[in-house]
């Protein structure tokens, strides 16, 4: 089977809630196997954009089109939420849950769980209750659980917010490895340093609109618009 290249096109997409426009109108095209970082201040619509891309946010106008059928595209995506959702089960069961949903045989699930628990550094904690993990461990578990199905596209919403340097580095290592082995990553962040370390291209979002979009590192050092420039220099943009 020839693997189809996955690409996504957003056309005049906007999201309105109670008469207020949260996002859009947005035109955006994402393809290839890069690492896209979505930057912007609080309330710019980063999370909403990510949810629109993932297909779990109702859009008011416009269209989101994948290069393959919607059902297939859904199966190939995973999403890591800003506040990781932990099932009230052990770490082992949390990691295996997405595979269990697919109805895979138990030995296969067990070996994959073992493999991924080592990769995310939770191998010694497999029988701990997941809701009792620390913030960093929860985030790593959520990342492992998202990657265990080998998604073609991975969405991450501020995966390193509130994490210390070491946890951030561990997560970044896992992300870079996933990206190298064929997972398209689309991630929001506040952290410009992280954007510089990881991104192959960046989107700058302000007040619900895409202000600027370009490949890194050129884009981060010399953005086209004044607002993006100010934001990248560390000024407060409203």
């Amino acid at each position: 089977m020839v693997e189809q290249d996955l690409s996504l096109r957003l056309k005049e997409v906007s999201v309105k809630r109670r008469g207020k426009t949260i996002l859009g109108p947005i035109n955006l095209e994402l393809s290839g196997s890069g690492f896209t970082i979505v930057l912007g201040p609080n309330g710019a619509g980063k999370t909403t954009l990510l949810k629109v891309l993932h297909g779990i946010e109702r859009i008011s106008t416009g269209s989101v089109k994948w290069s393959i059928s919607e059902g297939k595209a859904q199966q190939m995506q995973a999403y890591v939420f800003q506040r990781p959702v932990m099932l009230r089960r052990s770490v082992r069961q949390n990691l295996g849950y997405p595979l269990q949903l697919l109805g895979l045989p138990k030995p296969v699930i067990a070996s994959k769980v073992l493999e991924w628990s080592e990769r995310i550094g939770l191998a010694t904690m497999l029988d701990h209750p997941a809701p009792r993990l620390s913030g960093g461990e929860k985030q790593k578990l959520a990342l492992g659980r998202a990657l265990i199905r080998k998604p073609k596209v991975l969405f991450l919403d501020e995966p390193c917010a509130n994490l210390d340097g070491r946890s951030t580095r561990e997560i970044e290592t896992v992300l870079q490895h996933a990206n190298r082995t064929g997972t398209r990553v689309i991630m929001t962040t506040h952290d410009l340093g992280q954007a510089r370390r990881l991104a192959s291209d960046a989107v700058f979002l302000l007040n619900g609109r895409i202000h600027d979009h370009g490949p890194t590192p050129d884009f981060l050092s010399a953005p086209a618009t004044a607002e993006a420039k100010a934001f990248f220099q560390g000024d407060i943009v409203e």
């Binding site: 779990i56 939420f81 959702v85 099932l87 009230r88 849950y97 997405p98 949903l101 209750p129």
Partner: protein, 234 residues
């Protein structure tokens, strides 16, 4: 006060001597109420969970009705089941009236709304916690319900025990549809009503204490089996 002491004494004597009549009606009480509990749980747990995760047009009305049905008067349920099962009723041919089966049917009708309503309350909170993840993982409704029931089993246990409590202590409906026939449909509550009517307070009280002890025993057993309130509560 004398009556209560005499009751305690009677209860003690009945239990120690393993009075065959007492054993028989106690077992029948358990059989009827546990069967009703199992059937009602099979209906109410998935339904209550489904109500928590689905949005549809008459959802509010359904939930309000369900909550109202929690207070369904057992006597009225008994009367309706009686009319349905009586010889001239639509299900008369089944010959179920005045059998334990009729009592189970009546109790299922009484406790299903109660369990479903408690399930819905508990599942609503769990669903708001899991919502994003389960939607993102592209789960089917069936998988969502199964996940929620499994992870919320502790809360559901409370609902099931409340249902059991209502079933085992209920007298109005099973008196009507069961008929309190000796060696056939007599259970603890109907026996107590009968002995009280006859003026044998000691025996009535004795049966009453057995009933309370039974309810406690079942609760403790289920709790220890499911290991609630022990290590790893979440």
């Amino acid at each position: 006060m004398n009556d209560i002491w005499a009751g305690l004494l009677a209860a003690f004597r009945l239990i120690v001597t393993l009075d065959p009549d007492l054993v028989e009606i106690t077992l029948r009480s358990l059989q009827v109420s546990l069967s009703a509990l199992v059937i009602a749980s099979c209906l109410a747990l998935p339904f209550g969970t489904w109500l928590a995760i689905r949005r549809f047009r008459f959802r509010r009305a359904t939930i309000a009705t369900l909550n109202a049905l929690m207070g369904l008067p057992p006597v009225v349920v008994g009367l309706i089941v009686y009319l349905l099962l009586s010889r001239s009723g639509p299900f008369g041919v089944l010959g179920l009236l005045f059998t334990p089966a009729a009592m189970i049917i009546a109790q299922v009708i009484i406790i299903t709304p109660l369990i479903a309503s408690i399930t819905h309350q508990a599942m609503r909170e769990l669903w708001s916690e899991y919502h994003d993840l389960l939607i993102s993982l592209n789960t089917s409704n069936r998988q969502r319900i199964a996940t929620l029931i499994w992870d919320g089993r502790r809360a559901l246990l409370t609902g099931a025990l409340a249902g059991f409590g209502r079933a085992i202590g209920e007298v109005g409906a099973i008196m009507i549809v069961g008929g309190n026939i000796d060696h056939a449909t007599r259970v603890l509550t109907t026996a107590i009503a009968l002995e009280t009517g006859k003026g044998d307070f000691a025996l009535a009280l004795g049966l009453g204490f057995v009933l309370i002890a039974l309810a406690l025993l079942v609760n403790f057993t289920i709790h220890s089996l499911s290991r609630t309130e022990r290590d790893r509560i979440w």
